[in-house]
């Protein structure tokens, strides 16, 4: 178990303890993230209950294709992230598979941001930024788009951090600066990545699907 001793860090005496502590730590952080995004979604929910029609009209203005494509991209990135994490945990010397999946995950994350960029440009051209020249008549539609810019922006920041962490592991593994096999950093990074995906899973029906049937 030479690679285990390489990965073992202070202050842990056993590798198993270190892995458990890392996993427990990231889950505590993710729980605080759930509360953070939960508060934002609560704000959305309270405004929506009071302004049902304005929120439906505003939801119709979002681009369903960009939104659905980005959901598919993020779900696929969670697939490659899960394979990378499980391949590392399998201790079977899947070095190339792990690096390939990490690169694919980071690339899909970048693809999401590119699509989001095109979407933001279209939103700006359609005057969907709250303010003087806002496109819709209902005042509460501005509340929807105020939250839209805030929540998707914060999500994009989270995703950018995730891309950085995944790319870091891919580069360190590629240059053989870090043993990837059995490395608990992969699982911890993966858990963060999946949570950013889950946030988007809930944003999708709240942003893109209101008012489609009306």
């Amino acid at each position: 178990m030479s690679e285990t001793s390489v990965l073992l860090k202070e202050p842990w005496e056993s590798f198993e303890r270190q892995k458990e502590a890392g996993k427990f730590g990231i889950w505590l952080f993710l729980s605080s993230e759930v509360l953070f995004f939960g508060a934002l979604l609560l704000t959305y929910a309270v405004y929506r209950v009071g302004n049902v029609h304005a929120f439906a009209a505003a939801g119709r203005e979002t681009n369903i294709w960009y939104g659905s494509l980005n959901t598919a991209i993020l779900l696929t990135s969670s697939l490659t992230m899960a394979v990378a994490s499980q391949a590392a945990a399998a201790k079977s010397g899947f070095r190339r598979l792990i690096i390939g999946c990490l690169v694919a995950t980071a690339a899909l994350g970048v693809a999401f941001l590119v699509v989001k960029g095109f979407e933001y440009r279209e939103d700006i051209e359609k005057h969907l930024v709250p303010g003087g020249h806002f496109a819709l008549k209902q005042p509460a539609a501005q509340l929807f788009f105020g939250l839209y810019w805030l929540v998707t922006g914060i999500h994009a920041v989270h995703l950018t951090i995730g891309i950085g962490m995944v790319a870091r592991l891919a580069v360190l593994g590629w240059r053989r600066r870090r043993e990837l096999d059995e490395n608990p950093e992969l699982e911890v990074t993966g858990l963060y990545w999946h949570l950013v995906d889950i946030v988007w899973i809930f944003l999708y029906p709240l942003i893109y699907l209101p008012g489609r049937a009306g």
Binding site: L28, V34, V49, I64, S78, L79, Q86, F94, G190, L206
Partner: protein
Amino acid sequence: MSDAPDTPRKTAWQLWRRNLVIWAALMALLILTLVVAYLPLGPANTAIGLAVAAAKAALVLMLFMELATSPGLVRLAAIAGLVFVTILFTLTFADVLSRYIG
């Protein structure tokens, strides 16, 4: 090393197969929620949209994030966030919804 050289490749395929099934289920749910959003079901549209999102999140949490096979301490840390978000929503809506009645 008694393992045959082709043993890891076989496990790699097993790894992909397990996760591709989960991914296919997630994609099917995405298409389902997209189609249902265009059916005129009234308030049920929102309820179904959120239910499908919850189903997708459950798949990611249980299988990709491996909560289904995680130790109790980890599950407790994961559930803590959900418990407090539930309290946050319940208490807030106890106020908000009572204002819109009557």
